[in-house]
Every structure is written in structure tokens, then in C-alpha cells.
Symmetry: C2
Subunit: 569 residues, 2 copies
Amino acid sequence: MLAPQLAAVFTKLQTLSTSDHASVVSMNIFVALLCACIVIGHLLEENRWMNESITALIIGLFTGFIILLISGGKSSHLLVFSEDLFFIYLLPPIIFNAGFQVKKKQFFRNFMTIMLFGAVGTLISCTVISLGVINFFKEMDIDSLDIGDFLAIGAMFAATDSVCTLQVLSQDETPLLYSLVFGESVVNDATSVVLFNAIQSFDLTNTNPKIALEFFGNFLYLFLASTVLGVVVGLVSAYIIKKLYFGRHSTDREFALMMLMAYLSYIMAELFYLSGILTVFFCGIVMSHYTWHNVTESSRVTTKHAFATLSFVAETFIFLYVGMDALDIEKWKFVNDSPGTSVAVSAVLIGLVMAGRAAFVFPLSFLSNLAKKSASEKISLREQVIIWWAGLMRGAVSMALAYNQFTRAGHTEVRGNAIMITSTISVVLFSTMVFGLMTKPLIRLVLPHPKATSSMLSDQSTPKSLEAPFLGSGQDSFDDSFVGVHRPDSIRALLTTPAHTVHYYWRKFDNAFMRPMFGGRGFVPFVPGSPTERAEHNQPQWHPSKIHASGEKPVRRFMFILQITTFTT
Amino acid sequence: MLAPQLAAVFTKLQTLSTSDHASVVSMNIFVALLCACIVIGHLLEENRWMNESITALIIGLFTGFIILLISGGKSSHLLVFSEDLFFIYLLPPIIFNAGFQVKKKQFFRNFMTIMLFGAVGTLISCTVISLGVINFFKEMDIDSLDIGDFLAIGAMFAATDSVCTLQVLSQDETPLLYSLVFGESVVNDATSVVLFNAIQSFDLTNTNPKIALEFFGNFLYLFLASTVLGVVVGLVSAYIIKKLYFGRHSTDREFALMMLMAYLSYIMAELFYLSGILTVFFCGIVMSHYTWHNVTESSRVTTKHAFATLSFVAETFIFLYVGMDALDIEKWKFVNDSPGTSVAVSAVLIGLVMAGRAAFVFPLSFLSNLAKKSASEKISLREQVIIWWAGLMRGAVSMALAYNQFTRAGHTEVRGNAIMITSTISVVLFSTMVFGLMTKPLIRLVLPHPKATSSMLSDQSTPKSLEAPFLGSGQDSFDDSFVGVHRPDSIRALLTTPAHTVHYYWRKFDNAFMRPMFGGRGFVPFVPGSPTERAEHNQPQWHPSKIHASGEKPVRRFMFILQITTFTT
């Protein structure tokens, strides 16, 4: 889907270089603004309303305004936005990092619900929005849009923005909601790829069951093929690092190989016309499960933080740009003739987004709850409200798709198209600012005490937990995967009973075949100087109950405990 | 100097996108080849002849050959080389990392010699090569080159390639040679900027003393301004992180800020028409001296390895590309008419490079030795030979400058230009392969036992030393900088006596003003959970004599020692 965009990136970027020195000035200002976003975002961190993305948006808007004043109302942006810059450079690190640091246990336990939301939910939402748009726009003064455009609008606004979700929901505080909403946003990328292809290639005038079946088959193929590709590339990276770096580790090479192979998985997906987002997400999961445990301690610290930082910079870049781009004068000049229409279109779109999401979150949650036995696993009504709310944001992905659909050669000449672009910007700004600002307080209001079980069940083996890099595989002592026996007396096993069968067989398979082959926690052979060296000795003595949820302070303390244990045994 | 190139990058990259899917295929192959280079480079690491750059060159040549066969002799490269891609994305991380991990003590002790080599030496070499080229080319069958071209050839081939130097000389094994040759290659960037500007703007037909003075003044301004800019940006980053992150550290933000500000220093230098290479190099030095000590332990591990990895990937990228580009058929078709001329030109250039370098290394080493009192600090004749030899390589920088001078709009239409491009490729390939391959064995032959003093004097406070991140500022106990007193009884002070006066006053100034202001080793205020927390307590007990030169194994051992010390006190 993104292949044709590779071509356009260079064409569009060229407009950047109208004046040589001017582009150097632009780059300077942009990089300086990125720095400012980081510093101000840090200062505002304690603030209960703000988050980093909104800070970047506001700084972008403010800068755009100043540039608009200085340039005498001619331009408000420093760089020309290209959806391609976004899809080729900015999106892959964000999604890879999300997969790399997702709590795998939480994600796979809710796998069926996530699939339901991501595939069926997106379809429902798309249908509702498309029908609504067809209905409302006829009454408004908008011409030049055909049925394909309406369906594209549906697909565009049905997709929850994964980047926004990452910013608003906290994996540590509300792990269930995070995995549901974020997982949904990743899966619906595959759905939207199928939808876009369908809209562009199928004959939409006569719909019959065969086309629906073909559509379903396409989705299944795309989903499975993308997942398999991501998993295979991840496993190859684990195997290479495990085999080649035996006893002779090099942090630089390990990090370089992980980074390049993660990116390779993304562009390979593009090569085979699959969903790169889905592929790089699963590649991240596999790398954090196998590859990450095969490398040195310093590689673990480095990869964990470097991937997070790249993702963080890319996110800040996107929001800063979206803010700056919102004031682009060229897009607004068509709207001047009919400001009422633009406002009405934006309002209709926001309303439809809310209705479309409500149309699937509550029914599908009900369905999902039917399949669950224990009350603690069901999605409560309060949580459904949060899921509905937190998924309302539309971000850079919607912007990129809107540019793709409604701009020809970088200009928004047709009036209908211009109105759609400005409306998309309005929806993105409104949803990110208002829905985004309200999410944190809303969670505090609706869910005063997040489920205790959720945080207890949080997976400690992902790179996110800051202790892991220093502890090596020390945590395996409380993870039944290492002992290979399922202990029904442990509190965790009790809580996970409903889901334990699939999980149990996966564990057996993982221990018997996958880990000996690809490494992973506790299955890297003993080599002096290798990451597991110290941890192997400490397993029995070390007790996990003192693990601190997050934060940097505990690292030193645990290192200390570990060392003392080594000393006394 | 590089500002006009920003414009060209997008124009040239556009040729990449002749076919959308083809460019995705190219990217896939290129990233896969990068992975292959890393893996094969690792496997060949023990080999005494090979190094990573030569591996990448050979893989590039091999791939180029295969592509040439497949495409039926039409093309041999996947991506269109652009000097701008090189100057904007690939060079900054390499030079920044070199500054970040350079042994500062060694570098500044030899500062005058480095300046002599980098400025005066480059001028001598440039003059020799220019005169030689004018002399030889007249007899050969080469038209269409004017005096400006000849001087440009001189400047082009007078510059030692900093990227090659990093690959061939080892900072740990031969620190003196490394700092001299690499330092020279950084300083001569400033010289070549001035030379290029001079060649383009001054009236070269009538030279008088005023122009020479103006030239010298220009160089001095450029050198000082670039250095000051790099130092200021580095200090600002140290100050921001020290002030804002007090007691509340965030690794992702710290790393992002360091990365962005380092890049900012480079593009700011371009903004003010300074030498970006010099600026980003000094920014790296300041960041490793101050900023790096203000961040958390995990940030230190992350920045150290992430910067090294980015630099490593960029270097591999360059050499892989140069190898692939060498077989580009378009450049060679002009040469087919007169293969003898091209070979002769290449041979003459290589001969002139060797003569030009000999013309300044030996006389200037003699001058430098006159100023040194102790025998151990003088550059022996054997070392002079190595300095001469190791600086003979011409790499991607020469390629980029050749493209800049001899191609118009990406095509090498004029015969003289085409011959110069192919000759440059030949010189780069020959010098990198032959001189590069021979350097390691030559050092072993000429210098069987590298000076013991050199390795003893190596600066432990740079990020390169792998122990540092885990030790915090523990090493300060043997560093008089922390105690603030110059101890003449220590073995190190004895050895450094000749240079100690400047160093002593710098230390006093650093301790009295700079460190309290900008942080740095041992001067970050005590905050629970901050990087210095543990180290502050350990200083007196910890003895540095057991420090291992390099390698990853000692880390754990020292951590262990440290922890036990904490435990027992």
C-alpha cells in the first residue's frame, strides 16, 4: 500500500529546497523546536492535563502562528509534510518500539478481543461513518466527492491512531485498557490496508456475497502473512545473534543488527504488499522475547532505551509537525468562501467518529464478556467507556491517509478536497487536544482504583521493566516457564486459569523447541561474560516479591542484592 | 560550504524513484546487505588483514558486479550516491562519535602537533599535489580542466579521510598515532573548507601577500568559530540536563536531547557557513566531558553504545556504497576510449598523495619534536612512517568532493570530468584496500611493542572505557582533577610533567568554575537515585590499578568489587 508513496517523498521534499540556505534555517529551527518540546514536556510532566503530544501540538501551533506573521501570511510551516516521510521513517520506530515493550502476556490473553475490536470493530465503524457521511454530505454544499471518497473517509476515520493511544494510556496503570486499545489500533492497520485496496480495486457498484468472501479471505491472508513475516524476521535475528556471537559479544554489532533487521521486516512487508505496521509490531514482540535475551547486558540497556528514544523523537516530530501544518494558509483559502461548511463537516465527522466507535465497543465487549468465565476478566461498563473514549483520537495516520486521498501532486485545488483536508486537520486537532486532554482525568474519575489483578499480572520479562537488564534472567525463578512445570498453587496460575490451556501448551512448545533454538530467558548457554553468566547462579536465592513496578532507583538496589547473594553463596 | 548541497540531495534522490516498487526492492537489498556486512565483519574480526570497511567494500563490489550482470550491463548500484546524503546524514554521527569517544587527554596533549599537521600539513600537501597535477596532466591527454580544477584536486586529495582512519588505527593499541592522524583529519576539514572557498571566490591569477593573510585570517576565524560553537552547544546541553533533570531523570529524554543537540550543533555550523565537522567533533568532546556525567547510568550505557552503533552503521553504509558505486557503468564508458590515460592519472594521483604526505609528515614531526623535552614524547621515525602511511587513505569524503567538483546535475558528460571521477574511485579503492589492508601488519612490523606509556596514560574518563558507566565517578579517586591538587609523586604526573602547566591551570579552572556550573565527573550534586549516588561513597576505597584496558567482561567484576566495598564500609 505504501510503495507508490516512496516515489512521492522525493518529489515533495524537493519543494523544501527552493532556497538552499532557507532549508538549513528550517532544519535548525525544527531541531531546536524538538529540543524545546522535550524540555517543556519534561517540565509539564507532573501536570495532570498535559502530555507530550499535546505540548508538541501547542508548540507547533504557536510556531506556525509566528511563522505566519513573519512571512506575511504566506506560509506557516518549515518543512513540507509528506505522508511518506511519516510512513518510511517515523512510523516504523514507533510501532516497533510498541511491540518491543508491550506486555506480551496481557496482549496475548486478550488476543481474541483485540482481533474482534481491530477487525470487526473497524469494519462496523467504517460502515457507520461512510453511511453517515453519504447521508449528511448530500444535504450540505459539497460536490466533487464520489462513492470511493466516502468509503475512504470511512476507512480513514475508523482507524484509531496508535501513536496517540501510546501517549494517552499508560501500560503500567491500566494494562488491560492499554493492550485492548493499542492492540486494536495495530490490528486495524491490516483492516484499513484491505479496505483501501478493496475500495480502489473492487467494483463497488454491485456488491455480492462473493466479494464479501474475497474481502474476508484477503484480510485473513494479509493478517497471517504479515504476522508470520514479522515472527520469522524476529526469529532469524535471534538465531543469528545466538549462533554467531557465542562467547564474543559486541554491543555495537548486536544493536545495529537488531535495528536493521527490525527495519528490514518493515520494508519486506512493503515489498510483499503486506501490512508493515503489523509485521514490525510482531517482529518487536519476537525480538523482545528471544533476541533481547541473547545479547549482552549493555546491549539490553542500549536497545531498550534507544528504541524508546527513537520512538519518542518520532512521536514528538509528528505532533510538532501536525501543529505547525494546521495553520497552512493554502488549505484554508478555499474554506474562507464557506466557513460554515467546514465547521459543519468537522462537527459531523467528530459526531460520526463517536457514534461509529460506540456502535462496536459496547456490543463487541458484551460478546467478548460472554466468552470469559471469571468476573475479573470481563470488561466492566466503566472500562468500556474508557475504551470507547481513548480510541476516539485521530492523529498523524488519519492525516497521512487524508493527504493520500485528497491531494494531487501536493496541492489541494478542488474545493471539496480542500474542505476535506481542513476538516481532517480540525478533527485531528480537536480529538487530540480535547479527547486527549480529558483522558487522564476521565480515567481517574471513572476508574478510581484500577483492577489490582491487572498490575499483578503484568509481564516482567519485557524490556520495559527497568530491572531486567541488570538482572539478566534472574526473574525466571518466579516464572514457571523456566521450571517447565505449571504450578497450580501459585496465585498467578489461579488467576490465569481460564486462559491457561493455550498458554500452557505454548509454554511447553516454547521450552522444548523454541528457546533451545532461538535463545530467550534462561536458555542462552552458559558462556563466561555472556549476559546470563551471573543470573544463572542466583536464581534459587533471589525472590521476586520485592520487585518495584517501575522507575530507575530500584536498579541499583537489586544489583546490590544480587551481588551480595553471589558473595555469600 | 555544504548548504548548496542540501538542495541537490532531493533532486538526485529523485532519480531513485523511477519505479516505485523497484525502490522498495533496492531498499530491501541494501538493508539486507548492511546486515550481511555486520555478520561477515564479525566473523572475519580475528583476521589480521581484514577490517570492517574492507569487508563492506568487497561485498559492495561483489553485489555491484552481480547487479551489473543481472541488469545486462546497465547499472550496478541500488541507490544513487549523493554527497548530500553523506554530508547530512552519514558524516555527522561518525564525527560526533569520534569526538565523544576520543581520549581527550591524549588529544589535547598533542594539540599543537595536530594543528600543525591539520593546517600547515594539509596546505603543503595540497600545494605539492596541485603542482604535480599541473605538471603531469599537461603531458597527458587531458583537456577541459582549468586552474581551479587543479587546485580542487589538490584540496581533495590532501585531506586524510577521517572515516578510514577510525577504521584502521586503534585508539587502545596506538593512542598517540590515533590521536595525531585522526585529529589531523578532523582539523583538515576546516582547512579544506577554507581552501575550497578560497579557490571559488578569490582571484587566483594574481596572488599577493594580502590574499595569503586574508586566507590565514579566514582559517583562524573558521577554526575558532567552529570550535566555540561546538563547545557552546555542548555546554548548553550539559547545563539543561543538569538543571532540569535534577532528581527526576528520564533516560529517553536525556538521550533524545543529547542526540538532537549534537545534530543541532552540526547544522548550526552549516547555518553560519562554518565547518560542521569541527563543530560536531568539539561538541562530542564537551558532551563526553560534562553532559555524559550528568545523566543516569542507563543513559550513559545507552548513549555510549547508541552513538557508536549509529556511527558504525553509517561507516558500513558508506563503504558498502562506495564498493557498489565503483562499477557504475556510466562513469566508465568515457574511459573505454582511453584506458591508458585513466590508469596513468590514477597512478600519478597515488604517487602525488604519497609524496605530498611525505613532504609534511617528516619535516613537521621534526619541528614538533624540537618543542618537546622528554624523549618519550617525541615522535620516533618509526612512528612517523606509520603516521605517513595511515594517512594515505582517501575515502568517502574525497568521493563526495570529487562528485561536487566534477559532476554537473548528476552526469559526468565531459570527458575530463569522467576521467577524474573514475580516477578518484580508483584512488579510493586502491588506497583503502591496499594501504588499509597493509596498515595493521605494518604497525605490527614497525612497532612491535607500542609505547607502554601511551596505554598507561590513556584517559579513562571518556565513554569508550567500558567500566565507566557502571562505576559512575568512582575513577575520580585516581584523577587529580577531583581532589583539586596536583600530586607530583604519582607516576602519571611524572610522565606528564612537560605538558602539565597548561593542563594544571585548565584543571583549576575546570574545577573552580566549569564543573560546578555544567556538571561532570564528581560535580553532580548528590541526589538519591542520581548517577553519582553510589560512586560518591566509594571513591576513597576504590583503587584504579586493576582497571582493564577494554572489553566487556571486566564490567561485572568491577561492579562486584564496588558493591562489596559498599557493603563492608
